[in-house]
Amino acid sequence: MLHEHSLTALRDMLRRREISSTELTRHCLDRIAQHKNLNAFVTVDESGAMSAAAAADEQLARGEADLLTGVPIAHKDIFCTRGILTTCGSKMLENFVSPYDATVVERFHQAGSVTVGKTNMDEFAMGSSNETSFFGSVRNPWDPNRVPGGSSGGSAAAVAACLVAGATGTDTGGSIRQPAAFCGLTGLKPSYGRVSRYGMIAFASSLDQGGPITRNAEDAALMLQCMAGFDPRDSTSINAPTPDMTTLLGTEVRGLRLGLPKEFFDTSVDGEVLEKVRESLAVLERLGATLVDVSLPNSAAGIPCYYVIAPAEASSNLSRFDGVRFGHRSEHAEELVDLYENSRAEGFGEEVKRRILIGTYALSAGYYDAYYLKAQKIRRVIAQDFETAFEQCDVIVGPTSPTTAFPLGAKTQDPVAMYLNDIFTNTVNLAGLPGLSVPCGFDTAGLPVGLQLIGKFMDEASLLSTAHQLQQETDWHQRMPEGC
């Protein structure tokens, strides 16, 4: 079936004119409608997608194919799109239509891809289960009673159910890698600064980074190729050339040193998860990689550090939602201060408000040194731990998440239990490094397990080629959920 092909295969079939973009896009839209129960999409842009597909077909007929001409993809609803809704999973932006496109959206558009819609997500990307969305929870295609992970849960569910072959996500503390792990996908958080954040609604600006969620590493490389590169409109964008990721995929793992931090392989991790991770490492070892024991001694401080820095930055970023310039405006306001307080109380969900309050507390007079400054110092300690570990290895490996996908509702009453999901992912954001999750097996309940690869700054190529080589030897990434 058409939808079972990878993004790269579909792109090539379109180029060879074996299929048309109109036919493929129609097929994706039909599948999205058939899988509405997953709640993976907030907005489906049928007319926009069909006219983009028709334009792509004309272009292909002229023999003028760009990188992704005619390939349907979806964007996480955090990326601004001109002309269609951008909600960020929030009541605050329930009716918001951006006047401009995010740079990432613009680049996919220039590369010829067809945007079928916007995917569901945790509200303002704050969550690890996609249960904080104003538009309802997303279901995991592998087991509809379980979460898809978050915050890019809609993108992950859409790709896992083969509604689209690739989708964009964003990752502030694990929001691409953890849902990719929970849904059996390949998800890449690039190095901080690799992908433009212009038009990507800000959560924590020193941590946020956009990246691809796909079924295999080859597709992730292709999408990254499209997304990456300098953007003068993002002051944190790094002005460095993007290597040709797709040709680097062929790099052998022979001689590659894989570092296993002892802190990532302890008893806090589910036994089956560790077993599958170790099995995939044995495959890489057989291909000629060497396994090295390393240590990230301060990784336990990562979660508390992250839950100061991310909420502090969020409290500042989200101050723009004031009921005046855009977004929800309360109808109950006699005075200006009521307008602010009521618009924000009505427009934000509980988890977003909790994080804004914690962030405000950490930044408030008398607490700044004890919380925010302390967290920034820990951030350097964590970044230095990675630097030290990378003296002995080229790529750091371990589980993406301590468990497989958990049941819906299991952690909604306990924010701290939810936060602990990010224990292996959020230090990577604190240090600004690239991280990738790749499927490495299934537990006895039939749920996917993710292997995380962490690279040196700007070395996405090693992560993608290692994942690609693993995928030449294993077929975990080719499995599909039943009924999809």
Partner: protein, 95 residues
């Protein structure tokens, strides 16, 4: 570590978020739980460590002081709840 009702209200006002009296207990509990987690930071020795504001200590670029974006006021104000003659409208301010 627990946070007092008074502190929740102080922070809620600073953040300009209305917290009603029946929500107060929930926020107090939620925020106290997070602060207990955050307290674990103090187990990490950071004596003599410089704070890191940005990954990789990246310095923000400066650009020439030139107009690079066109005037898009009308387009930008299309998403505003209430505008009049190019101005944003708010309720009256009483100080």
């Amino acid at each position: 570590m627990s946070i007092s009702e008074k502190d929740v209200l102080r922070v809620a006002h600073l953040a300009r978020i209305r917290v009603s009296s029946d929500e107060l207990g929930d926020y107090q509990e939620g925020l106290s739980g997070i602060l207990s987690l955050v307290e674990q930071m103090h187990d990490c020795d950071t004596d003599g460590v410089e704070p890191m504001a940005h990954p990789q200590d990246i310095q923000l670029r400066l650009r020439e002081d030139q107009v690079t974006e066109p005037d898009q006021r009308d387009a930008m104000q299309e998403s505003a709840p209430q505008v009049d003659e190019g101005l944003y409208l708010v309720p009256r301010v009483i100080e």
